[in-house]
């Protein structure tokens, strides 16, 4: 028997993302990576380690600490024929570039009457759980999902970490990818030749009949853990990973809720005015008469993220709080 390539490879989320960037740099000479410490340092979270050595400083560009300018330069480069991947260290820092993202990237195509599209990908870390306190830990992807003109991706699995970047680069419009920092060490197996993934649909990560847990990104694991606990109690929860926060895939959510009649939204963002509010409203609009109980939400506590471990954990959605919300819904339906 001749030697064959292994059918699967073991890797982390971080390595999957790195492989995706590497593949993009190999496949399209217009692609380049730009951001703070992406080169010599290897990326603040080591995602781009080794890429500078492989592709050189023209295509793996360390920038000064100038978020507004290097994001804007990414937009300009996209306008003029390149396919930049811009990395922002954390979502909190992206606020320094919000002007460019909102007033240029999201706006130019419409404002120019269709003349100037912006084929740009911006990646950034999001989320809490690493004791990084109140300026490195928030989940603001719901804010960005508010903005017409952007597409918002939230890879929660190895498949999506590996697969979402390439279709994002093929997209003619700006795509933001939010990588929850807790996921970088997630480990598993992927096919050596990973199949393409879409960047349009939500995914059912666990089928179930009794209620639907709707989540994305860093809390997918939380929801799945809650579903395991509920299963032990005889409650069969379906878990939906939204994957794409804008445009939202209503159809997958509504089809599930129409079957299970109950929904709990699990969102690491804040509750007030957040993405969970949007998903809840869409369920009301599209599946109100299918509901056996009010839509429930489990979100982060409405506080700036605190540093000490116990307070940070108390602020975040946990499997126990999600399971409790689910039980309450079942109780309400039966009560």
């Amino acid at each position: 028997m001749t030697a064959t390539l292994p059918a699967t490879v073991k890797l982390t989320y971080r390595e999957a993302m790195r492989a995706a960037i590497r593949e993009a740099l190999q496949r399209d000479e217009r692609v380049f990576l730009m951001g703070e410490d992406v080169g010599r340092y290897g990326g603040c979270f080591a995602v781009s380690q080794g890429l500078l050595a492989e592709f050189g400083p023209e295509r793996v560009r360390d920038t000064p600490l100038s978020e507004d300018t290097f994001v804007g330069a990414g937009i300009g480069a996209a306008l003029a024929g390149m396919r930049p991947i811009v990395e922002i260290m954390t979502v909190n820092f992206s606020l320094l570039a919000l002007d460019q993202i909102m007033n240029n990237a999201a706006t130019l195509l419409h404002m120019s009457g269709g003349q100037f599209n912006v084929p740009l990908v911006i990646r950034m870390t999001t989320g809490a759980g690493r004791q990084l306190a109140a300026q490195h830990s928030h989940s603001l992807e719901g804010w960005f999902a508010h903005i017409p003109g952007l597409k918002i991706l939230v890879p929660a699995t190895l498949e999506d970490a590996r697969g979402m970047l390439w279709p994002a680069l093929q997209d003619p419009d700006p795509v933001l990818i939010f990588e929850n920092g807790r996921l970088y060490t997630l480990e598993g197996e992927l096919p050596a030749e990973p199949p393409p993934v879409d960047i349009a649909h939500a995914a059912v990560r666990r089928p179930g009949d009794d209620l639907t847990l709707i989540t994305y990104g860093g809390t997918l694991g939380t929801a799945l853990a809650a579903a395991d606990r509920l299963a032990a109690e005889g409650i069969d929860a379906e878990v939906i990973d939204l994957r794409v926060l804008r445009p939202l895939d209503d159809a997958t959510v509504l089809a599930s809720v129409a079957r299970t009649h109950r929904a709990v939204i699990v969102d690491e963002g804040w509750r007030s005015g957040g993405l969970s509010a949007e998903v809840s409203a869409r369920i009301m609009e599209g599946a109100f008469y299918d509901l056996d109980a009010p839509v429930a939400r489990v979100c982060s506590a409405e506080v700036p993220m605190p540093y000490p471990y116990h307070l940070e954990q108390a602020a975040l959605p946990q499997p126990d709080t999600v399971a409790a919300a689910a039980r309450a819904l079942i109780g309400a339906a039966h009560g």
Partner: protein, 333 residues
């Protein structure tokens, strides 16, 4: 920093001289017409007039190549017209008509033209500088020997993004021509009330960009300085910074009661009206007479009348198209 002036007597081809004068007249008369149309409520929104600053756009554009890129401000009627955007399309845009250069979507502050590499009027002060850095980066990475000319005002120099962008362009030695239209006011705030150091060219020089201040009321000085700087940028010398010292004769926008500056100051600057200055110099050189001036005025008046008729006859974009171009309609190569 010395302010360079083209000292008469000068030598210039008559045709070229008349072309420069014609361009300045086009811009001024176009905007005077816009004021009239604004009063008649044909044009709405914010309209920022360039009157007084015409020598800058008229002098800069002939020094650039057809495939160079322009990033403009929200006071960009002059920049657009001098770049060669058809006056019809600019006027139709002022009217918000679908024949406008941005389909009527942008209005006065957001003129775009992909064919002219005119990357738009940007209404966030300083917001165009990073775009220019990126356009220049793309041109260089693609091996295209092109210059990106980026306009902004003195107000932009107070924004953090100005300093970030000059630093990055200089660090990466990108082919950007930074063109500061210093008209001494950021809306109603005078330069010296907002800047600890008012010599903007000197501040730009601190980022390692060769920088100079130019008399922005002298169209020949503007053209000569731009041509020189663009040639240096094109030769791979990295970015350059030109500060054009100019003045707007009209209010900041058509909403502005002008409480922040006195009439004497305005009149002193009007004595250096770039059109009158240049026309006077040409007359002294025997390159312009009443007849030639009248021909230029007639030509401009006819073009404006045609542009207004075109805009008047233009169509409003159907409401069903409201959500078009939020996202691209097709995959592009």
């Amino acid at each position: 920093m010395t302010v360079q002036q083209a000292s008469p007597p000068f030598t210039i081809e008559r045709d070229h001289a008349l072309a420069l004068l014609h361009q300045m007249l086009r811009i001024r008369r176009f905007e005077e017409k816009c004021v009239e149309l604004y009063s008649a409520t044909k044009i709405r929104g914010f309209v920022h007039l360039y009157i007084g600053e015409e020598a800058v756009a008229a002098g800069v554009m002939p020094a650039l190549a057809a495939d160079d890129a322009i990033v403009a401000t929200y006071r960009e009627h002059g920049q657009a017209l001098a770049r060669g955007l058809p006056m019809r399309a600019v006027m139709a845009e002022m009217y918000g008509r679908v024949e406008g250069c941005s389909r009527g979507r942008g209005g006065s502050m957001h003129l775009f033209d992909a064919a002219a590499r005119f990357y738009g009027g940007n209404a966030i002060v300083g917001g165009g500088l990073p775009l220019a850095v990126g356009v220049a980066l793309a041109d260089r990475m693609r091996g295209l020997n092109r210059v990106t000319a980026c306009f902004f005002g003195d107000g932009a120099a107070a924004e953090g993004v100005f300093h970030e962008s000059l630093n990055l362009a200089s660090l990466w030695q990108l082919p950007v021509l930074f063109l500061c239209e210093n008209n001494l006011y950021a809306m109603g705030t005078a330069l010296e009330r907002a800047h600890a150091r008012t010599d903007l060219a000197a501040r730009a020089a601190s980022y390692g960009l060769p920088s100079e201040a130019i008399d922005g009321m002298d169209v020949l000085a503007v053209e000569a300085a731009t041509a020189r700087a663009a040639a240096e940028v094109r030769a791979g010398g990295g970015p350059r910074f030109l500060e054009f010292r100019t003045y707007r004769f009209r209010a900041h926008s058509l909403y502005d009661p002008e409480l922040y500056r006195d009439r004497d100051e305005v009149e002193r600057w009007k004595a250096r009206d770039p059109i009158a200055l240049f026309a006077g110099a040409l007359r002294e050189q025997g390159l312009l007479d009443d007849e030639a001036m009248a021909r230029l005025e007639d030509d401009v008046a006819a073009e404006i009348a045609d542009a207004v008729a075109f805009a008047e006859a233009g169509a409003l974009e159907p409401v069903e198209d409201l959500t078009r171009f939020v996202y691209s309609e097709e995959r592009r190569p």
